[in-house]
């Protein structure tokens, strides 16, 4: 057998691995759907997608022409996305190998290029369903379904390849320093040139934008800038990528498709020819992920975090009660598992946005007002979404049920401590946000006319926001304890239509329970607040808020006592729940 034939045979084995995996996974999911819980979740998931994609609702994707504002806005969005990968991108994208792949493929007689090609091919398992899903979501649009599918495939594949390429360059630079950067000089020059073009392009447009804002036509000025030749030039590669999706006719689609396909081919060549030694970081990353998976399934206790996260330290008082120790443990867990890069990226993006706004706004005090309003908006959003996002409570710990059960703590105390950890985390964001909103929002607004009224509103919110958040967290934790199969436990994010359906059903159930729990405190507190406002202005809100808070606190106390007894009777969580979490 020639070397070439052997090599082809090995790559055929890799393609077989992908195909076999897809078939086996599909069969397993189909078997699972025989269980009522998954069947119900699957129905809910399908119903959800049917609802958002129902043609009778008139959902359609109007693409506009190649010169349309929408086209340029999408191109701008892609540019921002790609820039974020280069600036803040995670190295985990390119190195997303499983431990099985590291152990069985890295040691196998495969070239590095074959391994990279395998990963690129494997990515199609995600990309192709994404194309299908997008076709359903976007609904009717111009062009045949094949044209639209190919256009979307070009976009998704190019973006995936670019992300892989960018992270390989970053990885090479991290491992080899200057020599690593030299190896990717071509890619770096292209990216640097693009960055310079963007900065120069933006700087040339600032006077026009400032003039537009001064004339009270901010949106018009922004659109005009987007259509300016310099913006179009900067966005050219992204317009090229999007062009097939925006082509109004078959002829134009064909003309737009081939340059876009060339872009895909160029990316394939770039990534395959990138001789970055990704194996080591991949092996480390895979091992970390394996530990994380084992931890989610309660099979390991060592932290899965990177070194930077391990640096998170919180002092535990030496004479802390067991409840305080549990709160400490859960806050520490959050500090070591949250995506630090994401937080940094968001902060940097906010700073850049504020600097830009400061440049273009004639009166700088408007920026502070904007910050104040954003802070208030985020606080209120977190009342609803916070209990779903902040999960360092029983939802994180239920997979370690055996450990929890062995702790010398009463069930009610444990449930309250678990709840307190998440509440402290949430409040640590909400309260400063409220104070920022209070300080930066001028008192002359539709609700308050003075600092006194504004302070009354602040006090009311400082009372109401934490207790409503606590109730939201309680509902989520009760779900984890009473219906562990229905609530996402651990850090895993299960995929698939049935997972979406299960999430929808759980969210609907949680909202119903939350509404019921808030009904009496809300009615009594609200009535007192209305009476108070009519007699004492905005300060009259405070007694109503206090009454509502006391009633919710009583509910919390009673329900956590009951949940504590449930916890003490809970011997195990279903095996399948743990397996799904893994």
């Amino acid at each position: 057998m020639t070397q070439h034939t052997e090599s082809r045979g090995r790559f055929a084995a890799l393609t077989w691995l992908i195909a076999r995996g897809v078939v086996n996974r599909t069969v397993r999911r189909a078997r699972r759907a025989r269980q009522p819980r998954y069947a119900l979740a699957l129905i809910a998931g399908i119903a959800y997608f049917w609802f958002i994609a129902n043609p009778r609702r008139g959902a359609s994707f109007t693409v506009g022409g190649a010169d349309s504002t929408a086209y340029l806005v999408y191109a701008l969005g892609l540019a921002v996305l790609v820039a974020s990968w280069w600036l803040f991108g995670s190295d985990e994208v390119a190195l997303n190998f499983s431990v099985a792949e590291v152990q069985l493929l890295f040691t196998a007689p495969l070239t590095r290029r074959q391994v990279v090609a395998f990963k690129l091919l494997q990515a199609q398992i995600v990309i192709l369903p994404s194309v299908l899903f997008s076709l359903v979501i976007l609904g009717r649009a111009s062009g045949s379904i094949v044209e639209r599918a190919v256009s979307l495939w070009i976009i998704y594949t190019t973006l995936y390849l670019h992300r892989v390429g960018a992270s390989l360059v970053r990885e090479s630079a991290a491992e080899h320093g200057a020599s690593g950067l030299r190896r990717h000089l071509g890619a770096i020059i292209v990216v640097a040139a693009a960055a310079v073009a963007v900065i120069w392009g933006v700087s040339t447009q600032i006077p026009a934008l400032r003039a537009g804002i001064a004339a009270g036509n901010t949106l018009g000025a922004a659109i005009a800038i987007l259509h300016a030749p310099v913006s179009k030039a900067v966005l050219y590669p992204f317009r090229l990528l999007l062009a097939p999706a925006f082509a109004p006719s078959l002829g134009e689609w064909v003309r737009a498709a081939w340059p876009a396909l060339l872009l895909v081919a160029a990316h394939v060549i770039w990534v395959l020819r990138t001789d970055a030694a990704f194996e080591e970081a991949a092996a480390t990353n895979a091992a970390r992920r394996a530990v994380a998976i084992a931890r989610r399934a309660g099979r390991a206790t060592m932290p899965a975090a990177r070194g930077v996260r391990r640096r998170f330290r919180l002092k535990l008082p030496p004479r802390a009660t067991p409840a305080v120790a549990i709160v400490w443990k859960n806050i520490t867990a959050l500090g070591r598992t949250m995506a630090i890069r994401t937080v940094i990226a968001i902060c940097v993006a906010i700073v850049i946005a504020l600097v830009f706004l400061n440049q273009v706004m004639p009166a700088t005090d408007r920026v502070s007002v904007l910050i104040g309003r954003i802070a208030l908006g985020v606080t209120l959003m977190l009342v609803v979404a916070g209990p779903l996002w902040v999960r360092n409570d029983l939802r994180l710990d239920m997979l370690q049920l055996e450990v929890l059960r062995s702790l010398p703590v009463r069930g009610a105390t444990l449930v309250r401590a678990e709840l307190a950890a998440a509440l402290v985390t949430l409040a640590a964001v909400q309260v400063p946000m409220l104070l920022v909103g209070y300080a930066l929002t001028p008192p002359k607004n539709p609700i308050t006319a003075s600092w006194s009224g504004q302070t009354a509103l602040l006090v009311t919110l400082l009372v109401v926001v934490p207790v409503v958040s606590a109730l939201g967290l309680l509902v989520q934790n009760a779900g984890a304890l009473l219906f562990p199969g229905w609530v996402r436990l651990g850090l895993a994010r299960p995929g698939g239509i049935e997972a979406v359906g299960q999430g929808m059903l759980t969210m609907f159930g949680s909202l119903v329970v939350l509404t019921v729990c808030l009904a009496i405190p809300g009615a009594l507190g609200g009535a007192l607040a209305i009476w108070g406002v009519s007699h004492a202005g905005l300060w009259g809100l405070v007694p109503g808020a206090m009454l509502g808070a006391v009633l919710v606190a009583a509910e919390l106390w009673w329900i956590t006592a009951w949940l504590g007894r449930v916890f003490e009777r809970t011997d195990d969580i279903p095996d399948e729940t743990a397996a799904n979490a893994a």
């Binding site: 090995r10 076999r20 099985a100 069985l104 007689p109």
Partner: protein
């Protein structure tokens, strides 16, 4: 410290020269050199953090050494990875398998990857030997820890490797499985494979290995047959492997470091 074998023997097995691996400022392995000839079983021992895992990962091609060379069956692992890895099998202590491939499919996949032409004939007896025949259609999640280990062993042995790298090979096996595994290692060595075996079970190392490499702090502390190691260090006379290991890697060695 280095050792060497005649060129013919070295080309048939594993040859490591000046292996060094740095992780940033940390030196995991420093200038490690050894050879394992055909039919030899080299026991790699050292305390936790000594550099054993890094050495095994370098030998198996998972990570690249910072400097130094590794030859597997005469092929440079860095320059000719495909022929080198064709001759190699790595059996890790914690086997991870493809979640959605059955036992039988794993073996089929490995057979295609390594170009095992007579896989159809080889797989059934291998499954029978490792008591996996009944589980041939099971997915890894449906297997016990020991059975997963057996499957990893089967994957490693299917292509008759000339070089075998084993990390704690008895982990998870029942007493019967341990006995069979030991017999398999000995049999493979007799058939001409060069074996590197890393384990904290010093009795196992003493029982199976023809030579021992003790590393500490990423460096070679001793290499050779136990008798030779003792002969070079008269103060170790009369000690068993456990005492020799502790003498060379214990407090005295730490002080020397």
């Amino acid at each position: 410290m280095t050792d060497s074998l005649p060129p013919a023997a070295a080309s048939a097995g594993i040859e490591v020269r000046g292996l060094t691996k740095l992780y940033g400022d940390l030196t995991a392995v420093s200038n490690l050199s050894f050879t394992v000839g055909a039919g030899e079983v080299l026991g790699l021992v050292g305390p936790n953090g000594a550099g054993k895992t890094t050495t095994l990962r370098s030998l198996s091609g998972i990570i690249r050494p910072t400097s130094g060379t590794i030859h597997i069956a005469g092929h440079d692992l860095a320059a000719q990875p495909v022929p080198a890895k064709s001759a190699l099998a790595f059996i890790p202590d914690e086997p991870h398998l493809f979640e959605y491939l059955s036992v039988d499919e794993h073996l089929q996949f490995i057979a295609r990857l390594y170009g095992v032409a007579d896989a159809a004939q080889r797989i059934p007896p291998l499954l029978a030997e490792l008591e996996l025949t009944e589980k041939r259609d099971a997915l890894p999640t449906e297997l016990s820890r020991g059975m997963r280990q057996k499957l990893a062993i089967a994957c490693g042995l299917l292509h008759d490797p000339k070089a075998l790298v084993l990390d704690e090979p008895l982990t998870g096996l029942d007493p019967g499985g341990m006995r069979r595994m030991k017999a398999t290692i000995v049999a493979r060595a007799r058939e001409g494979a060069a074996v590197v075996l890393s384990s904290h079970l010093l009795q196992l190392v003493e029982e199976l290995c023809t030579r021992i490499l003790i590393i500490y702090g990423g460096r070679t502390v001793a290499i050779g047959k136990i008798d030779d190691i003792i002969a070079d260090r008269p103060q170790l006379a009369g000690l068993g492997l456990e005492d020799i290991f502790l003498a060379l890697t214990g407090d005295g060695a730490r002080a020397a470091q």
